[in-house]
Symmetry: C2
Amino acid sequence: MTKLDEKQIIRLFANKLGISNSLDDVALLKKGIVMKSDMLVASTDVPSGMQAWQAARKSMASCISDLAAKGIRPYAAVISLGIPNTCSMQQSYIEGLAEGFAIASKEFGVKIVGGDTNEASELVIDCSMIGFSRFKVPKRSGAKQGDYVIVSGPFGYAPAGLAILLQNAISVSGGSSDASSFFRKQAVKSVLEPCPRQRFGLSLARYFSSSIDSSDGLAVSLYELASQSEGVDIIIHSIPSVEGLDEFAQENRLDTHELVFHGGEEYEIVATISHTKIRQADAAARKAGVSLNVIGRVQKGSGNVFVRNTLLENRGYMHFHK
Amino acid sequence: MTKLDEKQIIRLFANKLGISNSLDDVALLKKGIVMKSDMLVASTDVPSGMQAWQAARKSMASCISDLAAKGIRPYAAVISLGIPNTCSMQQSYIEGLAEGFAIASKEFGVKIVGGDTNEASELVIDCSMIGFSRFKVPKRSGAKQGDYVIVSGPFGYAPAGLAILLQNAISVSGGSSDASSFFRKQAVKSVLEPCPRQRFGLSLARYFSSSIDSSDGLAVSLYELASQSEGVDIIIHSIPSVEGLDEFAQENRLDTHELVFHGGEEYEIVATISHTKIRQADAAARKAGVSLNVIGRVQKGSGNVFVRNTLLENRGYMHFHK
């Protein structure tokens, strides 16, 4: 029996169905309509400690993040629910989910217009959104030699937070200092209440030559841009590591590089911007109150990613990849 | 602990999220965009004997049926998949799913433009579609006194087919006559390869004063129209029973009335048409090669449904209702 990984499965469907941009974050339709769906599955996407409202909010946050990376403001969402018969039919649990959708709907500015309710063996939430493009939507494949590589924020919180939630040995309140305790709280919060970079994407996507949401991990995201674009490598010269990560990694015998590049579940935007637009983009970022973090450059190459002089491994968080 | 049934769950979400038409089949957006999503869950929606390609096709058929009831031609679909790690990662199973999507995409004339792949403890397929309305979309709430009640086809195949698939004692090839054997084959086929009434809906929905897809069962569908519309009852004078159902019911000690009204999983359209439009609608039906089956009338009332003089029970197939 041949087993397929997630990418192989996507390729198989794409070939069979003739979906040309199957490996991009969103689908582009006529009249500038953009469509996106994202499924949250409890066993893989809801870590222990995540409440019902947080799971509901996260299901929408994932979709929002994909749209944000392309500069799309969501217009409407429909939600399909699979709810376990057992615990989940408790009214309080359902109310928690509804509360999470209401919070996310307000926070992300998207109206929920309908849905579908089903029984399932575990909690499954599928969130589909449409929005309208106001400018040429950046693809994963547009990176050009000389472009700057930018990220919407630092990496490391989410995998650290997951490690904290998964290992009871490491308590959230633990840590040897105030700074460490603050880091742990933020790390856990980034997992339970992820913040997609909506403002960043909406104000800057018009300047992107290529872009992707980073939820499969920074390394995988960089490789997507490098390999889908034509004849380029990406060189990272500045590692976007979140403050406090080194201390946390040392305390817990984890590897900073691993946490930054091969984690995942982060809702940052990774993009490239032409050198001719970088000043404009930086000005737009300041105006929007976000910061443009340049971490590298695009060079002539063949789809590889280097951190300074070292080839980066192309692996990260991936469904089915165990 | 309070347990909620599906309708209570939908109401809870609708109230919390301010979704006004939460109990209708599709969501109407600006620019005539119609959005719909439907989730197929293996444990409730995929009976034993249903192959991967049939499950994939069914997930799209459900969505198509809801759109057809409102006269909407689908324009694009996105598919989210939850696939079990175990058996389902076999290449042949994934290929079966892809084949089913390809078949459905062609059969129903809808392009699949994107998707999302996940690992889940059971097969879950969420299908979201958008389409564009070309005329005023009928709601569930528009039935008026004097309207005719029509259906797109007869009822009984699907619950009979489910009974056959669920009970090994009743074999598909069994039956005491050729007619019975034909009935069994058709019944099973209607479950494994449901045919949403796309042509019927697309050619006739402009004449509907109210409409609904019947997949929750005929009784429940009629009650939806009667109770959501203002001050009306529905009186059924002609029971839309599929040919051969009586014989099948007798052979298997099942009740014809139960199979017709309280089954479900049928993808027929149930609608009302004003007496001023019934001739036009009938002509349009003939032109399209479909038949307009009048089964009753709308009368002044208070949301009840009668079969001749007897009050019909408001129950049928409903998730969480066990």
